[in-house]
């Protein structure tokens, strides 16, 4: 598909892509195989053949696979949202969780739940909240010369804590019966079933757009004015990134609540391995994010089974050491 020069990064890109092409389906299969209940595969096969219902078949196709599919979509969406926000804000520390985008989505979704509006509107409210929050951060941290990194991060963190306070407020005024569901929803919960058509469509559409804009993204991170001088419509591209990142965050938040860390660490990790060229970074980040969250979701429900852990806790357990290791290795090869 791409004619990339044969240097170290592109050789690595080939290896990483093949590795991920194995890892992604493997993680799905592993996730279906693992759980607190042992599955009798002959029974599953028989249900598929004869159509006679069985518990084993139901566990695989109505519990485990839909959750894995959700985890896949959420992981891919968060990783892509991270890449896009980092390019938009020209800051490698940008991430839906850090900058309060997830928080904004969560607040809007909670309000809808609190008002008892139909469940379909929750996703819509979350999308509006995500885009609104991101816009707010961008406007507040903007000065004449553009965005300064520190100001942006500080604004994002303050806005995020503002959303956090609003979430606590909403929880405290909600009825006891509602709070339980809201809390589960907030902590990263995959019990909601599989991803809907709209979720998949958003991920697919934003992914295709990002892949086709990846050269523009490469220029954008080199500077807005510079990108403009090379013929990039920076205003249009940044607006598209804003909406795209907001929608992806909404997808992730409505499917699994606010999961941190994936949008920050996956792109970072992948940059160390394949470099910063978005033509490579986007596909590997999306696949890695998806695989990582499928495995995480599996661990969340098996490590302390029958107790379930919040997925966000596991993403930190898996990601932090991995990230630290890659960071050390990356800095060593650079000094050599």
């Amino acid at each position: 598909m791409f004619n990339l020069q044969t240097d170290r990064d592109s050789r690595r890109f080939g290896w990483v892509m093949s590795g991920l092409a194995v890892l992604l389906p493997a993680s799905l299969v592993l996730s279906a195989l693992t759980g607190s209940i042992a599955i009798d595969w002959s029974v599953v096969a028989e249900t598929i053949r004869t159509g006679r219902p069985s518990i084993d078949h139901t566990i695989i196709f109505e519990l485990r696979l839909p959750r894995s599919a959700s985890a896949l979509v959420v992981g891919a969406s968060l990783a892509l949202a991270g890449v896009l926000m980092q390019a938009l804000l020209r800051n490698p520390l940008a991430d839906p969780y850090v900058l309060g985008t997830s928080g904004g989505a969560a607040v809007f979704a909670l309000i809808v739940m609190l008002l008892g509006l139909p469940t379909q509107t929750v996703s819509l409210a979350a999308a509006a909240g995500a885009v609104l929050s991101l816009t707010l951060v961008i406007f507040l941290s903007r000065d004449a010369g553009g965005w300064s990194s520190t100001r942006l991060l500080l604004t994002g963190i303050v806005v995020a804590s503002g959303w956090g306070a609003l979430i606590s407020f909403l929880l405290s005024i909600s009825q006891q019966s509602q709070v339980q569901g809201m809390l589960f929803w907030l902590m990263g919960d995959f019990r909601g079933g599989g991803p809907g058509f709209v979720h998949c469509l958003v991920l697919f559409a934003v992914l295709v757009f990002s892949l086709f804009s990846s050269r523009g993204l490469n220029l954008l991170v080199a500077g807005t004015l510079k990108a403009e001088s090379l013929g990039v419509h920076t205003l249009g591209l940044r607006l598209a990134l804003l909406i795209g990142a907001g929608l992806l965050t909404a997808v992730a938040v409505t499917l699994a609540g606010a999961i941190g860390f994936v949008g920050l660490v996956v792109p970072h990790m992948m940059r160390l391995v394949v470099g910063s060229d978005h033509r490579r970074l986007i596909p590997v980040s999306v696949m890695m994010g998806g695989s990582l969250l499928v495995i995480t979701e599996m661990l969340a429900r098996t490590v302390l089974a029958p107790r379930q852990l919040p997925v966000g806790v596991i993403t930190a357990f898996v990601g932090v050491p991995l990230f630290l290791y890659l960071l050390r290795r990356g800095s060593r090869t650079q000094t050599q």
Partner: protein, 255 residues
């Protein structure tokens, strides 16, 4: 034939007028330098001429086309710009950086071709960084980075070449050698060059025309031999400069 024709333009930044009713004609093969004190608006004028800042008044023509009517892409195929102090936020390789210069020539849905890659290699070769292609840009020295940016600018292959302090960070050898070769190439290919310069002597040595910005919108322009004298330059910098003749060449030295 002129490549760029500015008619009665006015540029301003933060309420401060940089030039008023300025007429400027860029002919192929000519090299211009913009001189002026710090903060007088040299960069602003360069960005305005490149179509990256709105004009307060006047009009800029690229041949028969109006600059503000051109698509971003066709503009980028005609005007190349070297920025003063590009910052690096993300790790990126030398090869990728030079390839960015090819962006205006690559179809939106296509990828860079063998031809683009050969241009990138040719330009890296020219600045003496042929073995640095896969190096990380952040691992390079300031001067090496400047050479990479010059290579990217050359790879853009534009008829108008604008440079904001091209010799920033370059050591003595590259300041003279690289600039000489780069400008010779531009002249040979009938490109027009505009540079913002800090060093009066490099400007008088390498350019054939000067544009002096005095502030408050006042400007003066013309061929180097007519413009570069003690009176003009001392007034420009508000500092006494003396002209010394050494054999065929001359230089200015601040008092």
């Amino acid at each position: 034939m002129t490549l760029l024709n500015a008619e009665g333009i006015e540029a301003a930044i933060g309420g401060q007028v940089v030039c008023r009713d300025l007429n400027l004609t860029l002919e192929p093969g000519r090299v211009w330098s913009i001189l002026g004190r710090n903060g007088i608006g040299k960069t602003t004028l360069l960005l305005t001429l490149a179509g990256l800042r709105p004009l307060k008044r006047g009009h800029i023509w690229l041949g028969r086309d109006s600059l503000d009517q051109l698509s971003r892409r066709s503009r980028a195929q005609k005007i190349g710009l070297l920025f003063q102090n590009p910052e690096i936020q993300f790790p990126t390789t030398v090869n990728e950086t030079v390839m960015n210069g090819r962006h205006p020539w690559i179809q939106r849905w296509r990828d860079s071709s063998e031809h683009d890659q050969s241009i990138v290699e040719r330009e890296l070769n020219r600045v003496g960084l042929q073995d640095f292609g896969s190096r990380d840009l952040s691992a390079l020295s300031g001067g090496e980075r400047r050479r990479v940016e010059l290579a990217a600018l050359a790879a853009q292959e534009t008829e108008l070449v604008f440079m904001d302090e091209p010799v920033n960070h370059l050591d003595l050898h590259f300041q003279t050698q690289l600039l000489k070769e780069f400008l010779a190439e531009c002249r040979a290919k009938a490109r027009a060059v505009v540079m913002v310069m800090h060093d009066v002597n490099l400007a008088t040595r390498f350019s054939d025309h000067l544009l002096l910005l005095y502030g408050e919108g006042e400007t003066r322009q013309g061929p180097v031999e007519l413009i570069a004298n003690e009176e003009n330059l001392s007034g420009l910098y508000q500092h006494q400069l003396h002209r010394y003749q050494v054999g065929d060449t001359y230089f200015f030295y601040p008092a």
